[in-house]
């Protein structure tokens, strides 16, 4: 079984991001970049399926600048077999352009299954999986917490409001991973040393024109200081009213 994992490198969630001088991009200085956490579930699932089937090949497909190599090596160290790096400059690309570039590449590849995270934690757009399904004209199940692969079909548990939806579809298909799908493994130290010897192809992506443009980025509003409503038991009714009507927390 040939599995492709579409993986993105994102700022570490612990990093405090700053807006760059142009007001439209993230300042990359001192930012620690990691594998998008939801894509880690996708990598793990691909490795598990390969191990369960006893054969197969896991290819990492990443679009991004030079620095994305670190994330690619991490996935190779976890056990992926090879990788394709579609190299871009650090410019922002909208979800359409990214999905189209990945789809162009995927059209030349053999695959039975495409796995990716349900969203990237930097832009939270959550569009790539669904767009790939549409562009490649294959089934797509999103926000998946359990996946079973048969010969030519898959069964997936999808997380929906208040419950689980179980869907079935034919392969090839796109599956987007949700937390809970699995517990991603650590790259082994031996895997890290072997990662550099695994095939890594660097390519120019075929970039279509974007359909969205970032006008500007803003920080979230600063948190305002607290307010003292009053003192003693007589302040309680007013506090309750404010919590109910203004803060809307009770």
């Amino acid at each position: 079984m040939k599995i492709v994992v579409c993986m993105k490198q994102v700022p570490d969630t612990e990093t405090k991001v700053r807006i760059g001088p142009d007001g439209k991009t993230i300042d990359p200085t001192d930012v620690n970049y990691v594998v998008n956490p939801y894509d880690e579930y996708a990598v793990e699932e691909a490795l598990k399926i390969k191990e369960e089937k006893g054969d197969g090949e896991v290819t990492i497909l990443t679009l991004g600048p030079d620095r994305a190599i670190k994330a690619i090596r991490t996935a190779l160290a976890m056990g992926a077999d090879k990788a394709i790096h579609l190299k871009t400059d650090d410019k922002y690309l909208d979800s359409y352009a990214v999905a189209a570039a990945l789809a162009h590449e995927l059209k030349d590849m053999e695959y039975d299954l495409i796995l990716t995270g349900k969203q990237a934690v930097d832009d939270d757009a959550a569009q790539i999986g669904a767009r790939l399904g549409a562009l490649l004209d294959i089934p797509c199940a999103t926000v998946v917490t359990k996946l079973t692969i048969e010969d030519s079909t898959f069964t997936a548990n999808r997380e929906v409001e208040g419950g689980v939806e179980i869907v079935e579809g034919s392969l090839p298909a796109v599956i987007t991973a949700q937390k809970g799908l699995n517990e991603p493994r650590y790259a082994s130290l031996k895997g890290i040393m072997m990662a550099k010897r695994k095939p890594l192809e660097e390519k120019e992506p075929q970039l279509d024109e974007e359909k969205l443009e970032i006008l500007k980025m803003e920080y979230p509003p600063e948190r305002k200081g607290g307010r003292i409503v009053g003192k003693g038991p007589e302040a309680v009714p007013e506090l309750v009213r404010l919590l109910h009507e203004e803060a809307k927390v009770i």
Binding site: I69, Y186, S188, I192
Partner: protein, 394 residues
């Protein structure tokens, strides 16, 4: 407690390769996720987190700088960074890995027969088997050459008699590398758990390295097959060569405990307010923090250079002595200072500094005491040995 922020004041990372950084990040994440949540409880209960041994094997942390037979094959810098992160968790965890790798797997790989390598190394690398190293005796610590344990040639076997003391992993080990005198010459022997005449007792009531098993090994007419002698190790310099390997890992480990304490003290000082100002805003506290960071930075560069030399086969035992001695001494000072900055909070287990400080008291003494390492360097620079005539460094 906020997530650990590693000190890197002089862009140390710029001297590391992509793999070296990835190894460190991987072990760092593992320590955050698996060691830190459980270590305090194990420390209080005086237990080693046994459930983590298979994971350490799977990750490749055991004998990580050795090549072949299931070992990860890291270079010595990547290996050192992994040891740094383990000791950032706890000195007991790093001690486990040092003993398994440098004191058990290293001599079997370097001085063992092919049969011995095949029998032991894959299991030890994978964490299926645990090893220990018996050199020190109740009456012979800094002077191991005086050991009283003997091996006697008796037909198809050797018969061991004697006692080894302060043995990390002793009571949980599946195989012990034991040094004993055979016809007056120190030799290495492999003794498996359950061999008649081989017993261990756990050393209780330790106030340091509590999350680590320390034992006494007792050999009473313990008969082992002849094939269990390490064929290539005849003489005291062979066990000492293993210690050089372990001391190298300790030098890195000490940086880890120092970094943990510095980070904890810095975060605490910035958030602890006294007289309407964070205590980090007072000159006395700043002086302490700067001293800590300066020493960590010096340790990083000295130890990195040692690792690069080791990878080229150029590291000398006396250079390792300088790094072990300096780093453990400075890490202990850092841990004590961190405890001081933490005030009363520093004495409770919610914070790490006092646990690291207590651990480092042992680390300062084991694998060649602080003073012995001073004398090893002293002998090298003066050409005059301050040891007794029978104690020769290798």
């Amino acid at each position: 407690m906020a997530k650990f922020q590693a000190a890197d004041f002089l862009n140390f990372d710029r001297l590391l390769s992509e793999e070296e950084i990835l190894v460190r990040e991987t072990v760092r994440d593992w320590v955050d996720a698996r060691i830190l949540p459980v270590i305090q409880e194990h420390y209080e209960n005086g237990t080693f987190p046994m459930h983590l041994i298979p994971e350490m094997g799977e990750l490749g942390l055991l004998g990580a700088n050795l090549h072949g037979y299931g070992a990860a094959g890291l270079n010595n810098v990547a290996y050192g960074l992994a040891m740094q992160e383990l000791e950032r968790g706890d000195s007991g965890i790093r001690s486990f890995a040092s003993v398994q790798g440098a004191l058990v797997m290293y001599p079997i790989l370097t001085y063992g027969s092919e049969k011995q390598r095949k029998r032991y190394l894959p299991k030890l690398a994978g964490g299926e088997w645990i090893g220990c190293y018996g050199l020190t005796e109740p009456d012979f610590g800094s002077n191991p050459g005086g050991m009283r344990t003997t091996a006697v040639d008796d037909g198809d076997s050797y018969v061991l008699n004697g006692t080894k003391m302060w043995i990390t992993n002793g009571s949980i080990a599946d195989v012990a590398v034991v040094w004993a005198k055979l016809d007056g010459t120190v030799n290495g022997f492999l003794v498996e758990k359950g061999t008649p005449g081989f017993e261990t007792t756990l050393i209780q009531h330790k106030l340091s390295l509590r999350a680590s098993v320390t034992s006494e090994l007792i050999f009473n007419d313990c008969r082992i097959p002849k094939e269990n002698r390490l064929p290539e190790a005849k003489g005291l310099k062979y066990p000492l060569s293993c210690l050089t390997q372990a001391r190298y890992s300790i030098a890195w480990g000490a940086i880890g405990s120092g970094m943990a304490c510095y980070d904890e003290a810095l975060q605490y000082a910035k958030s602890r307010v006294q007289f309407d100002r964070p205590i980090a805003g007072y000159q006395l506290t700043q002086e302490k923090l700067v001293k800590m960071l300066t020493e960590i930075t010096k340790m990083q560069f000295m130890t990195l250079q040692l690792g690069r030399l080791k990878d080229k086969g150029l590291a000398k035992y006396y250079q390792v002595s300088m790094a072990k001695q300096n780093n453990v001494y400075q890490a202990l000072e850092i841990a004590r200072t961190a405890r001081d900055i933490l005030g009363a909070n520093g004495i409770v287990g919610d914070y790490q500094a006092m646990r690291h400080a207590a651990n480092l008291e042992s680390v300062k003494t084991y694998e060649g005491t602080h003073d012995i390492h001073t004398l090893i360097v002293g002998e090298n620079i003066t050409g005059i040995s301050a040891f007794t005539p029978e104690r020769r460094s290798s």
